[in-house]
Symmetry: D2
Subunit: 351 residues, 4 copies
């Protein structure tokens, strides 16, 4: 595989830092340009960034000069094959469009997720949405394109729902207990969360309820028809650093047994596993049998943060089946998702 | 109201301490006897008890001598009209029976909750279950009796379900986020819960699923017919000191509007309010309109810990309505529940 | 005592909220004006303020209209006898001066603490510094004046050092473990403090090291000569909501016994106790004998948040004596300190 | 280096699990026997052990059968060259002696630390104490021996004090903020530590004050003369998972500059570094220049948990110099310490 040079937009933020951490030593991708806001532009990355990760900032990254987040500055700073966008949702929309005119943009922002001609990609779940890319390029007359990754709490849910589709998935009720890092930095004030739970995350429930249907929808060659599933989400913020835990109830028409459901989870693999993509976990879903798992601190790093851990699969007195799922929200739910998407595009010839 | 003397079983434990705290200055009840295990018997309470509450131990209680938890020791220690039992579930059963042969026993333990002839009482919800007391006394030939309070996470759920019964309540899915104090002391090791959630609490889901049906059941003069409701519970332990938060989805046949449901919550009162019982909160259910409430630390002390706070009442894409409820698990969910039950019995002439 | 009307500057902030909470039902002071930044001016207090306290916002306060923080707006809003300033340190200086030209200003800000003619007051410790007020008014030609309360971590330390002065206090080493609320709101990001300690608080060590000497200094009728004590402070932020804990080592020339030191703590009272001021705790210092106290959650509310709890007084292998002290940083360390100062001024005729 | 077979006593406990984790893939040592209490004996390790670490239990370890902690059972279970003891302090004494009659015992327990003929070893600090081994064997007529590792909070302090000895170290005042894992499992109840600090750890202050003098003492060929240093320790438990933070003040006769002290820390290396022992960190002490480091969560894993991170080195108004130090209490402070000690013994021919 030929190496590709990448630019990271919003490189100094929490997700930007994860991109840098996860791309260190990547076999296909090299970081060529780090872009951030005007306040950071012109500074060395080590001076512009309040590094929050437990591993050390890679030395050579620290020495790079941050550039402003505009097409001209990024192009002047280096030859770029690919752009990762970790821009905040409220400003991402138009900026990503200017970049997409010339470059593939893989975005973590919500701005374009529900656009009709933009993939909302989870490589194991719906690789066929990549076929929206030529549609989009044609329609928008771009030489680049935008592909999006879903919201963090949606990704892990959708990965576990995908293998349940075969059983006639009709209704889903999910209650989330989401980690602090999902709110970015500075994010949640400590005074709000110590000895407490905040039972509300702005726009999160709507994202889960709408994005999931597009992710699990069917692609007809031109557009995605949303899956015919009713979804209810209740989202809570808890005092956990990383790792969203979700309690899920599903109604399955075919009434499979608990063991059939577990087997569907366990045997689930997708294109990333078949193609042995570098970021792909061996198993997208790990099923644990202990009575008290998954737990955020013990399971969030499973599959180097890319596996979803499922536990307590059991029959439900109201719906058919209930279970818990847990994923690392800034790896599988953010930067790792973007990298895996890029890997799939590279393997399939889209970039 | 004539004053009554009470004994507390398991007086040195977490719930026992709450009983003592809440009974300080009570207008009807005086603490006459403190009973605990053999290890504590013979010691002054202040030496036998590792007091864990933020308020100081009442001075005169500290000077009382703890007696062993058997009928003879308790009777020798003082004239007792009434027994509060905070015994651990695994030993409560037979001990409570020996006491019930002579005394009214108001129990926080699970042992007898599902007995056919034992009330499972929430004074605002099902005061008619007190009529099981004469049935029980007759059947068991006791001069005393046992009445039980439900499990902490069940009480707050059932209080909010009661006013929904009129709308044709058929199905309930609840996911709980429960506080540390619900596990007693020493309870949950700090190493297990820091930066973590434990998605399992032994027997808790079963308790919610079975007890709620008895609480909301109908009494036919001889026994309680369980309510015809399907209930699904998923229980999680979170790093919060006090206050269980529950995310609830309900299916209501009559499809009331969100405003009708809120009004049903707001206007709900019961016998304790009509009788102005000392421990009764002015409003059993407080409905908050803020987007991010209820929160454990901000709402657990509402109504001196006896009100349930409901928030985020909204329509649900899968069921009819969803909402959150929060209650103080060691006050409304434990010691306060027992005291309110005793007050109702006193007001109605059962003790 | 005639009632006085007070204005609160920065009324919507964390300390401002505490002022409102503590002044509810105060026998001498009525809240007449609430001032805050332009963003809040013109709004009802309930709409301008994100209320963070566990008790409810007083209803009539919520209905008051917030005014801008300038002399003219405050004067137009009501007759004011006295101004409490909870302004941020970086803007407090000049604003407080404009108010002091006409009103007594009791300030929680650092700006004027070390001014030669401004009291740095702890009512139990150095009431004689009130005599700086006529000096200040004369020198600055003001009809009002500024009096300051020390930094929160300094107040509790100084209260415990005062009774040790008689033993020839020469050297103090203190290591603090400070609560989140000391940083205001939003303050410390939760991602920084979960499973962590931050061993640095900007300017805090300097404040402890310099303010303490002025507080314990001697007043010669014109100015305060700093106490001749060497002080070393190391300040840490920990994941505790309220209550600063401090580990203190002191060198005492007279080498008193542990019991003599404890007795000095226990018997310490000051003007607020002699005058029975409303906010004064019965005992400024509570000495606990348990091996593991004081603890923030168990002891911060002692004396309604106005007592300092001391524990583990023991002899030290390097200095003479070591002990721990704990105080509620937003009550005794902030709003309660201001109110007690105002009460002392009222009782002594300064306002 | 020839491979050696090791037995681990108390293999199912928290420190035992760390030994297993850190020995996985070790180039010199193979785990041959896992011993634990009678309750575990005869079970597979995976069934006997509640594994608490974030990494998975090594598969082949899980299949091993646990044996009882007595000499006979361990000898029957396998050929053993070396015993690591993670026994609780109250039972370790006599059990370790029975093993030492035949095997080298490297102990994490306090029982024999202060024995005159037993090394209290930190490989970088006092490798000469290994020469106590022949003394001990002769005196006790053992073919094996006991060597001990200091208490966790002492190890990291002593490593930072060692390079200060050259400046005439006379007095040390240390205040610790210690992690939960230092108390073992189940250890500290979560109800005691949420929103709280416990300012007392049984025997910890005495251990720091006495062990440090032996560690830094001088060996005269027959015994260790304690260093002539006055040490004062105040120990606190905080809500942090791993990593003890210590605020240290030292008095140094030679009055070195801050830069000289930093350079002494930075340039400090010992035998493990010279011998390139497998467990040895490249640098025993890492000096950070950021204003707010070290922090437990960010620095505890430095040098794979074996480096001590020092920060905020500054001059002190009372003593000479103050600084903070941080170490991973269950790696450098426990299992990693034992393994490094064993490596040094292997390299020097003691085992």
């Amino acid at each position: 595989m030929k190496r590709r040079s990448v630019a990271i937009l919003a490189a100094t933020g929490a997700v930007g830092q994860r991109f840098i951490q996860l791309l260190e030593g990547h076999p296909w991708f090299d970081i060529a340009v780090l872009a951030a806001s005007e306040r950071s532009a012109g500074k060395k990355y080590r001076d512009a960034c309040l590094w929050r990760l437990e591993t050390e900032m890679p030395k050579e990254i620290g020495e790079m000069t941050v550039v402003n987040t505009d097409l001209k500055s990024v192009k002047e700073a280096g030859d770029v094959d690919l752009v990762f966008s970790a821009l905040p949702g409220d400003i991402a929309g138009p900026i990503e469009e200017t970049f997409a005119a010339e470059f593939p943009v893989i975005s973590k922002a919500a701005a374009h997720r529900m656009d009709e001609d933009v993939p909302l990609l989870i490589p194991e779940v719906n690789p066929e949405q990549l076929e929206l890319i030529p549609v989009q390029k044609r329609r928008r007359s771009w030489s680049g394109f935008i592909s999006t990754d879903p919201n963090c709490s949606t990704i892990q849910l959708a990965i576990t729902l995908k293998p349940l589709m075969r059983f006639g998935l009709r209704r889903v009720i999910v209650v989330t207990m989401q980690a602090l890092s999902g709110a970015g930095y500075p994010g949640v004030p400590s005074l709000d969360i110590i000895d407490n739970i905040i039972p509300y995350i702005a726009k999160e429930e709507e994202k889960i309820e709408t994005e999931t249907k597009k992710i699990l929808g069917t692609f007809d060659g031109e557009r995605v028809r949303p899956a015919n599933i009713a979804i209810s989400a209740s989202c809570n913020r808890v005092d956990v650093k990383d790792g969203h835990l979700e309690a899920v109830c599903v109604d399955l028409e075919d009434k499979p047994s608990v063991e059939e459901v577990k087997e569907a989870f366990r045997s689930f693999i997708g294109e990333p596993q078949r193609l042995k993509l570098p970021m792909a976990p061996e198993r997208p879903i790990i099923v644990r049998e202990e009575i008290d798992r998954p737990q955020p601190r013990l399971d969030r790093d499973a599959g180097r943060g890319m596996s979803i851990t499922v536990g307590r699969v059991r029959s439900d007195p109201v719906m058919s089946i209930k279970y818990l799922c847990l994923g690392h929200n800034t790896i599988r739910g953010a930067a790792g998702a973007g990298i895996l998407s890029a890997e799939l595009m590279a393997a399939k010839g889209y970039i």
